[in-house]
């Protein structure tokens, strides 16, 4: 039998302060990147939002002979489009992305935005480089053609705003659902700890996206949702073991039980996360440009999702659960079930405890 971890006895919770500090630092760095980028005028923005969320037009063009970015820019300027961004596709030597930013921001701009893109670019390229391949032909089968528009994404400001709000709202709702279910199956402190951990993972991942200015598109949102799933999954495996151990060893402290649970599930954690990490690494390496944002978000997310179930969710749950249990213990049953405790001057402590637990 091959066994990676045998009878590990690591005191994970002893390092809780270090874990929390590391996580806070990571989140702060990401936040700082976002804030500074947003604050510095004329620079980049907090996040490099794609057209899906910001509005604008992206056109993928395949050239027979790829011109330089300056040449394309000159062609665009010639017909009056000034701030086009030309971005070569990394893994395709003959393709370029031509990005036209959002035109204006009023409601009436929707139409203009969605309409100008393709026809403007076509006009500019036709003039500068020669005709586009015919409708039903690709570049190889049309010897006259100089280029071919492979795809367009034009999103008006209204649709962009809508997609952005929806992505945020839906993620928050999903988190609420998770909170409710874990609260129902375990204790609400478990649920809260799991959700805090997931929040942490999403924030850290977004921080990376701000620092490296990777583009955030709809598929990146799908990746964030995936990592929410993974992270909660990981956390529940540990929590489940804690719940089981508490039933078996009623005398042991929550601290020890949690450490044991993490240690007992450690090999499953490492194997599962390791396997998924490897599959996602395959996506980063072989998935090409299309899947890059998606895979890199997942890669970071899995790393921190695994880390956070051990380093964030568990310590927070232990800390919180201890306070709640202590408060319950100190509160006599009578006082808990009725409001008379407040009227009893002889026992001020339960009240203080209850208040602290509720805070």
């Amino acid at each position: 039998m091959i066994q990676f971890f045998k009878d590990v006895k690591i005191d994970w919770l002893a390092n809780r302060r270090a874990f929390i500090v590391v996580s806070l630092l990571l989140m702060l760095i990401g936040l700082a990147s976002a804030v500074i980028r947003q604050a510095v005028p004329g620079g980049t923005e907090a996040f490099n939002l794609g057209v899906d969320f910001k509005g604008g037009t992206v056109i993928t063009v395949q050239f027979r002979q790829r011109p330089t970015a300056e040449e394309i820019n000159r062609a665009m300027t010639k017909i009056g489009v000034k701030d086009a961004i030309i971005q070569p596709v990394a893994d395709k030597a003959d393709q370029d992305l031509i990005k036209l930013p959002q035109q204006g921001s009023g409601e009436g701009q929707n139409q203009a935005q969605v309409d100008i893109g393709r026809s403007e670019v076509k006009k500019a390229l036709d003039e500068a480089f020669g005709p586009e391949a015919a409708h039903d032909k690709d570049l190889n089968s049309d010897p006259q053609a100089a280029y071919k528009i492979l795809g367009t994404d034009a999103v008006g400001p209204v649709a962009g705003r809508q997609l952005r709000n929806q992505a945020i709202a839906v993620t928050l709702l999903a988190l609420l659902g998770i909170l409710a279910y874990i609260g129902f199956r375990f204790e609400w402190t478990y649920g809260a700890a799991a959700v805090i951990a997931v929040f942490h993972d999403v924030l850290v991942t977004l921080g990376f996206f701000s620092i490296f200015q990777w583009e955030i598109s709809l598929t990146v949102i799908a990746a964030l949702l995936t990592l929410v799933g993974f992270s909660v999954n990981d956390t529940i495996v540990v929590f489940d073991r804690i719940r089981e151990n508490r039933r078996l060893h009623r005398r042991e402290s929550l601290y020890d039980i949690t450490n044991d649970a993490i240690n007992q599930t450690l090999s499953r954690t490492v194997i599962t996360s390791g396997l998924v990490f490897l599959s996602v690494l395959a996506m980063v390496l072989f998935g090409g440009e299309v899947l890059f944002g998606f895979s890199v978000a997942l890669l970071i997310g899995i790393l921190f999702g695994t880390y956070s179930s051990i380093a964030i969710a568990s310590p927070i749950m232990v800390w919180w659960q201890k306070r709640v249990e202590a408060a319950n213990l100190r509160t006599p049953p009578v006082a808990r079930s009725s409001s008379t405790s407040a009227a009893r001057p002889a026992s001020p402590r339960p009240r203080a405890g209850a208040r602290r637990a509720g805070a």
Partner: protein
């Protein structure tokens, strides 16, 4: 575990597997031998799995019906009718106007004095749509009567306009033969949006202008001295207004006249013209409001080659329904030698004088090209859109781009799968086979599920599959690790397997239900890609409970019940 139980389990699994496999690779028609060759299977597979536009190629359009325009037109029209009704009845009013600012849609009639207010209100309601109390709420104050459309009625009317637009768009798509379009309302209720997906269409320009064309046709009386005097035209809008004494009365309108211009199928102001000079109206004319007949009275419209014109000189021939024909006949009979104009989307396309009574047919000339004439005929036949539409989102994916995405997704998935499979076999040895069988079965059944529910496979959907594979492996790892743990405590193999499954099952249920709950939120409240992700994920997880727990368990039962097995050995 008893043998009988095992047999039952095996039968269930084999049947489900075969059915799933057939759904995925079998043809939808009565199978022939060629369907089970390699190319036959590949062909069926292609037909069975619906790829999303991002993988297959095509156009994705989100549009909004400008329902505010529709409501405004409703208020404007009724204000006009109200004024006419009051004046016809000889009731003293200062005027009627529509107020369509700040989200209000109101018709306001101002009387000379308050005494006749009730009579005016009754008379106007008798003659106009303002009578419809489900839409219009009337109130009086001082010298005015105000009818306004309540918020609820606004929403209801907007919904109606969107529904009508959907029908019209559908008939226009049918008329030009777009294959398998997806057409549905989109976004939150009240956002008045429509989603249109057209597989295989790479350049949606023509369809866009065809759908965007409002095609509001009216036949109107042009105010001019009768023939043989020439038509009274004005060089500028101001000049035309001056001729009316500086203000346009409510029964007159000044509209541009495109004399012999070449209109496009899109027509109207919404299509930016490539050459601004060509679109400048040559002159303006004054017309009478309301129109003689409008597009709702059309029976048919078709494009025909103009007499004596070149091959690229087309015109539209139209005929009217009996009701419209009657109105039209009566009017033309009474107005011989007057000028009549064809008003299309608020522009005069052609003017002719009336030689004799015309009853049910007419022509729109205007040097159309063949395609623009045909497209215009299509839009006229389908009826006028209740309001213009604007495009919020346009995405097109060429087939090669989609193929690249598939290739990237499939390569990455296969490499990932290979890694997972080899690790499981290496680490868990014999039991690793269990995991691999469960994993493959999960993939097959997931595809079958997608096909059964008619779901489309999109790029985010592939993400859902990857997460499912992750969770499927996780289930196996959980179970195996647990069995190993139980074995270490000195249990017999049989009871370790039993305990391992029982304990791990609790965890598996919790992780799966949590993820399913969160994906249900995504499915219910999300659209497009988010939804595609949720569908594959929920499907994959439900199937996983079968493949990773039930199937894997059955394999263990079989292993433990084999003849001649050493009872204390388990390859794990």
């Amino acid at each position: 575990m008893k043998k009988k139980n095992l047999l039952q389990r095996v039968i269930i699994i084999v049947v489900i597997t075969l059915v799933g496999l057939y759904i995925v690779i079998g043809p939808r028609h009565r199978p022939t031998r060629s369907d089970f060759t390699w190319s036959g299977i590949k062909n069926s597979l292609r037909n069975n799995i619906h790829l999303g536009l991002d993988l297959k190629g095509g156009s994705h359009l989100v549009m909004r019906v400008k329902t505010d325009e529709y409501l405004k037109r409703l208020a404007d029209g009724n204000a006009l009718a109200a004024e006419k009704a009051a004046k016809d009845a000889g009731l003293p009013i200062k005027g009627a106007r529509a107020n369509t600012t700040g989200g209000n849609y109101q018709v306001i009639v101002e009387a000379n004095d308050g005494s006749q207010l009730q009579a005016i209100r009754d008379e106007v309601q008798k003659k106009t749509d303002l009578n419809d109390s489900s839409v219009w709420g009337a109130s009086t104050s001082g010298n005015t009567v105000t009818w306004s459309i309540s918020g609820t009625a606004q929403r209801y009317l907007s919904q109606q306009a969107v529904d009508q637009a959907l029908k019209i768009i559908d008939s226009r798509l049918n008329a030009v033969g777009v294959v398998e379009p997806v057409l549905q309302t989109h976004g939150a209720t009240g956002s008045n949006q429509i989603l249109l997906q057209m597989p295989g269409i790479q350049d949606p320009e023509r369809i866009k202008s065809l759908l965007g064309s409002e095609s509001r046709l009216e036949l109107v009386h042009v105010i001019s001295p009768p023939s043989p005097s020439p038509i009274q035209k004005y060089a500028t809008e101001q000049e035309a207004i001056q001729s009316l004494g500086g203000t346009v009365p409510s029964n007159r309108r000044v509209v541009p006249y495109f004399d012999r211009d070449e209109p496009t199928a899109g027509g109207g102001a919404q299509q930016p013209s490539p050459d601004p000079n060509a679109k400048k109206p040559s002159s303006y004319v004054v017309i009478e409001v309301p129109s003689v007949v409008d597009g709702s009275e059309l029976r048919n419209a078709s494009a025909i080659n103009s007499r004596g014109g070149g091959t690229d000189d087309y015109q539209i021939q139209f005929s009217l329904k009996p009701n419209g024909a009657q109105k039209f006949g009566a009017w033309t009979g009474a107005n011989i030698n007057e000028y009549m104009g064809v008003l299309l989307n608020d522009q005069i396309k052609s003017i002719a004088f009336i030689k004799s009574q015309i009853s049910d047919s007419g022509e729109i000339s205007g040097r159309f090209t063949k395609q623009s004439a045909e497209d215009l005929a299509v839009t006229l036949r389908s009826g006028a859109l209740p309001a213009r539409i604007e495009y919020l989102e346009e995405r097109t994916v060429g087939p090669s781009l989609g193929a690249d995405s598939i290739k990237a997704g499939v390569t990455a998935s296969l490499v990932g799968l290979a890694l997972v499979v080899s690790f499981m076999l290496f680490y868990y040895r014999g039991s690793g086979i269990n995991a691999v069988v469960a994993l493959l079965l999960n993939m097959i059944l997931m595809m079958a599920g997608l096909i059964i529910f008619g779901a489309t496979l999109t790029l985010p959907g592939i993400a859902g599959i990857i997460l499912t594979v992750g969770m499927a492996v996780d289930s196996n790892v959980l179970i195996f690790e647990r069995i190993r743990e139980e074995l270490r405590t000195g249990k017999t193999v049989a009871s370790a397997v039993e305990q391992g499954f029982a304990r791990a099952f609790v965890t598996i249920i919790d992780t799966h239900v949590t993820t399913i709950i969160s994906s249900l939120f995504l499915f219910v409240f999300g659209t497009g890609p988010i939804r595609g992700f949720a569908v594959t994920l929920v499907l994959g997880l439900v199937i996983n409970l079968f493949s990773a727990v039930y199937v894997s368990r059955t394999i263990f039962i079989w292993l433990l019940n084999r003849e001649g097995r050493r009872p204390d050995a388990l390859s794990i």
